[in-house]
C-alpha cells in the first residue's frame, strides 16, 4: 500500500468515536483532543462532521453519540456470516444448559462478544455483542489464545495489562502459558472466578472444517450453583455437541 492510499481524516474520525467509549460520558472538544492526542482544531472538525451526519448531538458545548453509531457495529454483525450462523446453536445450547451461552472472537488482547443467549444475568456487568473482556482471564480468551502459536500468545500477553481482578486471577505469564498448553490438550478451558467473584465458565473452540479455530463458545454459571471442577462433567458434552454442529456449517 502506498502512502497516499491512507485517508488520515477518516482514521482520525474513527479514533474520535472510540474516545467516547473510555469516558462513558459526553465529551467537549478539548477532552476529545486529550483522549485522542489529536489537535483541537482537527477533533472539532471530526465532531462537527459527526453531528452534521447525525452520529452525534451537539449542544454548543458537549458532544454525545447518538444511536445512529450502532449502525456501524451492526454493519459487521449483519454482514458477517459467523454471528448469524452461531446464534441459533447458542440459543439451543443455552436452553439445554439452563445457563447463559456466548460466542466471541479474539481482537488483539481482548475477546469480543459476537453473539449471546442469556437465560438470566449472572455477571455484574452487562454483556452484549460488542462487549469486550481481557482474553487472559476469560474462558473463551484462554481457548482462543491456546489456539495461537505460543510465541504469538506470549506477544499478546506482553501487551496485556495482567490485572488480578480477584484473588483467583492468574497473572503470571508462565502460569498462563502452561494453562494454554493444558487447554490445547484437553480441548476446553475452565475459569473459576478469575474475572469476578461468584462466576465460573467453561469454553471450547469453534473450528471450521479445516480445523482452524475461528471463535469460541462458552457457558457461564454462578459459582453458587455449581463449582468449577464440576463444570466439565455437566456442560462439556453440550458444548462439544454444539462445537461439532458448528464445524459442519463453517467453511
Amino acid at each position: 500500500m502506498r502512502e497516499t492510499d491512507f485517508v488520515s481524516g477518516f482514521a482520525r474520525g474513527l479514533k474520535v468515536i472510540e474516545a467516547f467509549e473510555e469516558t462513558r460520558q459526553r465529551l467537549s472538544i478539548a477532552e476529545a483532543s486529550k483522549l485522542t492526542g489529536l489537535d483541537r482544531a482537527t477533533v472539532r472538525r471530526s465532531l462537527l462532521t459527526l453531528a452534521e451526519l447525525g452520529y452525534a448531538d451537539y449542544d454548543g458545548k458537549f458532544f454525545a453519540l447518538t444511536p445512529k453509531v450502532l449502525r456501524l457495529g451492526h454493519a459487521y454483525l449483519s454482514a458477517t456470516p459467523l454471528p448469524v450462523l452461531i446464534q441459533p446453536h447458542l440459543d439451543q445450547l443455552s436452553e439445554k444448559a439452563g445457563q447463559s451461552a456466548s460466542a466471541s472472537v479474539l481482537d488483539n488482547t481482548e475477546i469480543v462478544y459476537i453473539a449471546r443467549a442469556s437465560q438470566r444475568r449472572v455477571m455484574s456487568i452487562n454483556l452484549t455483542p460488542g462487549s469486550r473482556l481481557p482474553a487472559y482471564c476469560a474462558s473463551m480468551g484462554r481457548v482462543l489464545l491456546a489456539a495461537l502459536p505460543e510465541t504469538e500468545a506470549r506477544a499478546i500477553l506482553s501487551r496485556t495489562e495482567l490485572r488480578a481482578n480477584t484473588e483467583n486471577t492468574k497473572t503470571d505469564v508462565e502460569v498462563l502459558v502452561a494453562e494454554f498448553r493444558r487447554v490445547r490438550e484437553q480441548g476446553y478451558a475452565v475459569i473459576d472466578q478469575e474475572l469476578e467473584i461468584g462466576l465460573c465458565s467453561i469454553a471450547v473452540p469453534v473450528e471450521n472444517d479445516r480445523g482452524q479455530t475461528i471463535a469460541a463458545i462458552n457457558i457461564g454459571a454462578p459459582a453458587a450453583h455449581l463449582s468449577a471442577v464440576d463444570m466439565p462433567a455437566r456442560y462439556l458434552p453440550l458444548l462439544k455437541n454444539t462445537q461439532q454442529a458448528l464445524r459442519l456449517v463453517l467453511r
Copy 2:
C-alpha cells in the same frame, strides 16, 4: 458551521462501513463504489484505511469487516447512560413476565434496539442492541411516533416505505395517525402480528422526570401463547411498574 468544518473524507468512510450492512457479505472495491455512489479511487482509499487500522480484512480482492468495528457501536452503548440504566429494569421485567423485554429509541424512520433481555427467541430474526425495525409496524415504534407532534410523525411516515409484512400490517397513513392518537391517550401500543405472523407485543413509553418520551420498552410474546387483546391485562401492570421506576432514575 462553516463549509470547512466538515471532513468529507471521514463522512465518506462512514458511508463505506454502512455499505456492508446492506449486502451481508464481503465487498469488492467496485461493489462498494456502486453501493455508496463514491468514486472507486475514494472507496479504495477508505477500504485500505480500514484494513490498515484493523477494521477490515483484505485478501487482495474482497474486503470484509472485522469485529473491531463493533467498538464503534459499543462506544455509544457504554458512553450513553440510557442503555446502562435500563438494562437491569429490563431483566426484572423479562423475568417477571416470562417473556422477552426490549428497549429502543427512534432513529429517523426506524427504531434501534439499545437493550434487550430475552427469555427465549420468539422471532425468526435475531435482535440485538443495534438491530433496527421500521417504526410504523413495531409496538415501540408506535409509542415513539405517538410521542411526536403529529406533523412530525406524518413527515416520518412519508419517508417510510410502508410495506405489508403480514396481512395484519397497517400501511395506511390515516389509519396509522389515528392509531398514534389512541396510543397517546391510552398510554400503550399493542401490535398483533403486524411485523411477523405469530408475534404480538405491547409497549409503553419511557419518560424522564420532565415527562419527555426518550425511549420505549416492550414485551413480546408468541401469539400462540396469548392473543393480542389479552396482552394489556397480562403485561401492562408490569410495564407500568417498570416505566414508573425508570422515570425516577432518568433526568
